[in-house]
């Protein structure tokens, strides 16, 4: 069973974001789902579903509540996640693999890995994201530091691989 749990979505009281491991579903609006979840979507109990960087946002339709419908939605979701290949998503014009790598890298650099580098007096910026390879540039205290490759591997690459499992390498450019 694929691990998932719901978190509240700011500003959308009827929605819950079901946190999913990276790489299960591509990002985009969900158009069609197999099984019971598809039926719930068709019946309007589930009004809309979209996959973003962190998980699957499910919005309930009018009259449906999470305490009332939550258990059924959860069971249907687990069943549907077992056939992730059968989902149809509108990945949008901007959803090439390179664009996803770029977005993921930027999120990682803005997050904990970047915080670590900045706390050590360095700075890091994305140079390019292409064919599964992210190239970054380290400046400040990092320039010439012997621990740079360790930081890249142990922090940037680790976090990035979590968000974008198809990652091939992180390079310093």
């Amino acid at each position: 069973m694929i691990p998932t749990h719901p978190e509240a979505v700011a500003g959308e009281p009827d929605s819950l974001r079901w946190i999913l491991p990276a790489g299960i579903l591509p990002e985009g609006d969900v158009l069609a789902v197999p099984g019971v979840l598809g039926a719930l979507l068709a019946a309007g109990t589930v009004q809309q579903m979209r996959v973003d960087h962190a998980g699957l946002v499910i919005g309930l339709g009018q009259g449906a509540t999470w305490p009332g419908e939550g258990a059924a939605v959860r069971a249907a979701l687990h069943a549907a996640l077992n056939q992730a290949g059968a989902w149809t998503l509108d990945e949008g014009p901007d959803r090439s693999t390179d664009a996803r790598l770029r977005a993921a890298t930027e999120a990682v650099l803005a997050g904990r890995a970047g915080d670590f580098i900045r706390s050590h007096g360095g700075s890091i910026a994305l140079v390019s994201a292409r064919d599964g390879v992210a190239t970054v540039r380290l400046r400040g205290a990092c320039a010439g530091c012997p621990a740079v490759s360790l930081t890249l591997r142990a922090r940037v690459e680790r976090d990035l691989r979590e968000a974008y499992p198809q990652l091939r390498a992180v390079r310093a450019g």
């Binding site: 691990p3 749990h5 978190e7 946190i19 687990h78």
Partner: protein, 653 residues
């Protein structure tokens, strides 16, 4: 485990305060948080199952009042034992007279987060405002684990506050978080009920919180390889116990000397400044000679609780329990029963209350019947006094003081007898009982904090002194009256052939013809085979209220006989009449018989009372009192005979 008798403060709580209940797994640190929040001194230990029952305290933050309630630890909300039932009833508001709580503080041990999430899921499903206090994050980090507590809070949908209670870290944050309990975020959706879905939920929450479990504590694992080894572990356990009693004898003596000097000074003051002889007698003999005779054992009590709380804080007691579980299994009892019996090491009252952790009612009865045989701290003064009469402090066996070894043997006899008693009770009333599985967590070794050790010693010292000031004082004054009545006029004294000016002879005569003397002589047929004279009988009868009263009574009699040197008076005491006239009272056979008598007899009204309360009828306390008295008499008779034979056969020392 070092709960003292009659301890456990529950303050009355104002009704306008918001009720906050602490709930969590055993040994997660609820009571440490409770103490830090309320400033109360509930007992803590590195040991699951220390809190039994509820305790309540008050907290005021920014003029907002809270009543904080500490509950026993539980792994889940489907109760299998009475103490878990307490948790469930308290949370659901099913306790009579008390509504459901306003808010919950769920205490979660970060080092056992995966397991704890099952309890978290159940507690969140109660739909009460809930805050998670995350403890032991310092230990998680030290053992190579990681946890993002903010991400954990987002994943669970409730506020999370990191707390390291024994160092007071995070308590201020917890306090200020409590003030906004009405606005705490709440999860939109309950965790799933289905087992597979729940497992996926737990996995996902842990992934999101970037949880990496603590690596095995290598130091703990290495130490445990020795301490839990069937052979080495048992040897170490025996060595620890032998050392334990050596320390109590070796180090307490100088401190005890100080307390004795204090009481001698007080006696001097009474002598000089109290004009009325009867008041001087009451103060000098009853209060200073009697109760004071018990109070001088305070250093031993303190030392014992110091050692116990250190062993417990380090985490050694859990290992001892693990080793003993094999023995207990042979007696047909589960390991939880050992925890209860271990508690009785301090006092049978908390020991009997600790049987609430036992799921099976029959196991509870068996454990309760055995608990009073464990050597409680009330026996300590009696043992020390009697061992002092039996063995000189200079006698050594190799590097060890024989006094300490005798003490160790008495504790061992008590413990073994308790096991046998439990086995018999269990065999008689529960022939085909199944052993329920027992999970006892082995906490990692930790350095105990000075605070928790000091709390334990303070608690035991105050409980001991309170007992001295209440039941022992009352019994002692009662005995003083019995020992000094009826009053004799000078004419009567002269008629009896005494010189009224000879104080020593007069007090001996008064004692001899007193009401207590008559009572002591009346029961002589019962105790004569054990070698007890009427004065010892009075002491034994008095000790039925509380064991220490025996010491108080003998102290009183001795200080009436020889006010300057009660200890010598006791050693030199001889039979005043009858077949044994002139023979010393405290001969080796008699002292041995007394020691064995005190091992077995149920001389504690508090224990009888708590047994009545816990079983709901007089049946079991009466059975316990009866069988223990029979056992005590029989054992004392055998000991008396055996020592008599041994001293007659061997060269007299």
């Amino acid at each position: 485990m070092t709960d003292s008798c009659h301890g456990g403060g529950t303050t009355s709580v104002a009704s306008d305060a918001a009720r906050v209940v602490l709930v969590g797994s055993p040994n997660a640190g609820k009571t440490s948080i409770f103490n830090r929040l309320t400033g109360l001194n509930a007992k803590t230990g590195n040991y699951p199952g220390v809190t039994v029952g509820r305790s309540t305290g008050l907290l005021t933050v920014d003029s907002l009042r809270f009543s904080i309630e500490d509950l026993p630890g539980t792994y889940g909300l489907s109760p299998i034992s009475p103490d878990e039932q307490v948790v469930v009833s308290a949370l659901s508001g099913a306790l009579p007279g008390i509504g459901s709580p306003d808010a919950l503080v769920l205490v979660v041990d970060a080092t056992t987060l995966r397991r704890s999430l099952h309890l978290v899921a159940e507690v969140l499903a109660l739909h009460q405002p809930t805050l998670i206090a995350l403890t032991l994050t310092d230990e998680l980090g030290a053992r190579g684990g990681t946890l993002d507590s903010a991400a954990l809070g987002r994943a669970l949908g409730v506020p999370v506050v990191g707390v390291i209670a024994h160092r007071g870290l995070g308590i201020a944050e917890l306090r200020s978080a409590l003030t906004s309990w009405r606005e705490w975020s709440r999860p939109v959706l309950d965790a799933p009920a289905d087992a597979a879905e729940l497992a996926a939920w737990v996995d996902s929450v842990l992934l999101t919180a970037r949880y990496r479990p603590a690596g095995p504590d290598r130091r703990t694992a290495r130490i445990d390889a020795v301490l839990l080894h069937p052979v080495w572990g048992t040897l170490v356990f025996a060595a620890v116990m032998v050392a334990f009693f050596q320390v109590i004898f070796a180090f307490a003596a100088p401190l005890q000397g100080l307390v004795e000097v204090l009481f001698a000074g007080l006696a001097d003051l009474v002598d000089r400044f109290v004009p009325w002889p009867w008041l001087a007698g009451l103060l000098g003999d009853a209060v200073l000679g009697g109760v004071g005779g018990v109070v001088i054992f305070l250093p031993q009590i303190l030392l014992m609780f110091l050692l116990v709380s250190v062993l417990e804080g380090i985490g050694y007691m859990s290992r001892a329990a693990f080793l003993m579980d094999r023995v207990m299994g042979a007696a047909g009892l589960e390991g939880r029963a050992f925890v209860a019996l271990l508690s009785s090491f301090a006092c049978a009252v908390p020991g009997i209350m600790a049987t609430r952790t036992l799921p099976s009612a029959k196991d509870r009865i068996a454990t309760m019947m055995a608990a009073p045989l464990m050597t409680c701290s009330a026996r300590l003064p009696v043992y020390i006094l009697l061992i002092g009469l039996l063995v000189s402090p200079d006698e050594r066996f190799g590097p060890l003081q024989v006094q300490g070894l005798v003490m160790f043997a008495l504790y061992l006899l008590g413990a073994l007898s308790a096991m046998v008693a439990a086995w018999i009770v269990k065999a008689v009333q529960d022939r085909d009982g199944l052993l329920m599985p027992f999970y006892m967590e082995m906490p990692p070794y930790r350095i105990p904090t000075l605070r928790s050790i000091a709390l334990s010693m303070w608690g035991s010292a105050t409980a001991f002194l309170r007992k001295c000031g209440s039941i022992i004082l009352v019994t002692t004054i009662l005995l003083w009256l019995l020992l000094n009545l009826p009053l004799h006029t000078d004419a009567e004294l002269r008629a009896a052939g005494l010189d009224p000016a000879d104080d020593g002879a007069v007090s001996a005569y008064v004692l001899d013809t007193s009401a207590a003397g008559a009572i002591g002589r009346a029961v002589e047929p019962v105790f004569d085979p054990l070698g007890f004279d009427w004065r010892v009988n009075v002491g034994v009868l008095a000790s039925l209220s509380a064991r220490e009263t025996f010491v108080a009574t003998l102290g009183q009699i001795a200080s009436a006989t020889d006010p300057d040197n009660p200890a010598d008076a006791l050693a030199a005491m001889t039979y005043t009449d009858g077949a044994h006239e002139g023979e010393p009272v405290f001969s080796a056979p008699t002292v041995a018989a007394l020691l064995v008598f005190f091992v077995y007899a149920l001389q504690c009204m508090s224990t009888v009372g708590v047994m009545r309360r816990e079983t709901g009828s007089w049946r079991w306390p009466l059975i316990a009192f009866g069988y223990m008295f029979a056992l005590a008499w029989l054992g004392a008779w055998l000991a008396h005979g055996a020592v008599l034979l041994a001293t007659a056969a061997g060269p007299t020392p």
